[in-house]
Amino acid sequence: MQGDLQTKGHRDGTRVRVLLTSNEAIAEAVRIAEPEVIAAYPITPQSPIVERLAEMIASGDLRASFVRVESEHSAMAVIHGAATAGARVFTATSSHGLAYMYEMCWWIAGSRLPAVMAVATRSIGAPWNIHGDHTDIVLLRDTGWIIGMAETAQEAFDMTLQAFFVSEEVNIPFAVGIDAFTMSHTAEVVEIWNPKIPERRQAYRVLPTDRFAVNAVTMGKARMKARYDLAVDLENSAKIIEKSDAEFGNHGGLVEKYRLDDADYVVVMMGGWCGDAKDAIDVLRGEGYKIGLLRLRFLRPFPKKAVKELSGEVLVVDKGNSDIRGVLGIEVSSCGIEAKNVVAGIGGVDVGVEDFCRIFKNFVEGRIELEWYL
């Protein structure tokens, strides 16, 4: 499908408008990045990404090894091994799949290996639910991964390409988040193009012929030092993300500021539903409310500077919770901001422009502290 369309035009750097879901946009970006090893296990709503990549490999559009595995734990283990040997690697998952590969996410981050993973964010059971929220991707917070969250298929495309660049620059794996269905399965206009990504590079390589063992048992401070170095480098990856932003679509770096300049009221959110929130902000602006949006494009490194700079009243709208509080609510509060917090959209509950207008009006009129929008 769309074979000749996708290969014409952008090879010479020009941009081609095509209709793609965020799943398809990510597959296109991966094709352009030319990974050597892809390993994945299917799970809704991610599956179309790796199905499309498998088709590209079958048709010869992409020269990569696709390793079919029996579980997500093995998918990440294959990626880990291939990356250790110096291959550019990719995988994708969602929800229970991410939970199942969780252990290996720590291994690959701790080993300081570059890798890119797409996460089509979906609720985790029980009760069983295949729809979208952010409860899966926030699991990665403590692993040491870079975690991005796109708003559009265009941004999913650009961020995936940036992910390969940044990950290989800082030796830290990079997760690209897209919302289940509202992004993963929604087709929209995307401009695809072919940015230059340097050859694969990484801090070290171990080949099967090398007489060398990695990740042996550590004594004393070695493990703590490794963890510290990863935390410092993750902080510093912010600079690389900001610096390379212009080369990968100009989306704003760690954050996007929407109508923030003169805002007395600020909403903080991440993901695809920020589009609905922007439409709602325009409605409220039309009614005279000075409200704006700080969209977090990254959960790690956390955009602490942009959050600390916020003035006025702050509301965080979350699609994932820890306890009664939303996860972003906790993150924003940790920056010394006294934020109000709404948890909404869990399990794919539809939150549209009218809902955001209602929530934002309640916020502006002082009627929200912490609530679940049920």
């Binding site: 074979g3 289940a180 509202t182 929209e188 439409d279 009218e354």
Partner: protein, 171 residues
């Protein structure tokens, strides 16, 4: 201008394909578009919806469509609850579903052009022809969209879409 349309169909009839064809045609015309399938499991024969947004500006919202201006009905036996301003319906007889209604016997056109899958008439091509006419999208854009989406399998669909584009009638 933001136009929101809901497509009512049965799983296997081609409603999602139609949304995608029209969105592509709109894009080729220079507009922005979204084609949204019903989220979750789809089953052959069950009623499913697909959604379509078209605008001359980038479309930011991606929540569900609650009050569409237009509806498209692939099977007239599907129960409707709509106050849309215009509609397109697959029906041999004039069947008014909105203030402004376009009707055509899409099943007959699909059968005539041999568009079947597993014994079912797949009516995405003729319905797309009718929707394009209703939305004043020139046939050349729909033709290009069908070629892009269906590739080598496009020939019968092109003929069916063209016939639908020409015969669709207003009530």
């Amino acid at each position: 201008m933001l136009l929101e349309i809901t497509i009512y169909c049965r799983g296997g009839q081609g409603g999602v394909t139609s949304a995608r064809l029209i969105a592509t045609a709109a894009m080729l015309k220079g507009l922005y578009a979204q084609a949204i399938p019903q989220f979750g499991p789809e089953r052959r024969g069950a009623t499913v919806n697909a959604y379509l947004r078209i605008s001359d500006n980038p479309i930011r919202r991606r929540s569900s469509i609650r009050n569409p201006q237009g509806i498209v009905v692939f099977d007239k036996r599907i129960e409707l609850n709509s106050n849309a301003q215009f509609g397109v319906i697959n029906s041999a007889d004039p069947a008014k579903i909105a203030e402004k209604t376009y009707y055509l016997d899409a099943t007959r056109i699909a059968e005539k052009h041999g568009l079947f899958h597993a014994g079912w008439a797949v009516i995405s091509a003729p319905m797309s022809g009718a929707i394009a006419k209703a939305l004043e999208i020139e046939f050349r854009y729909l033709k290009e969209a069908i070629l892009r989406e269906l590739g080598e399998r496009a020939e019968k669909s092109l003929e069916a879409a063209k016939e639908a584009y020409e015969v669709v009638e207003w009530i």
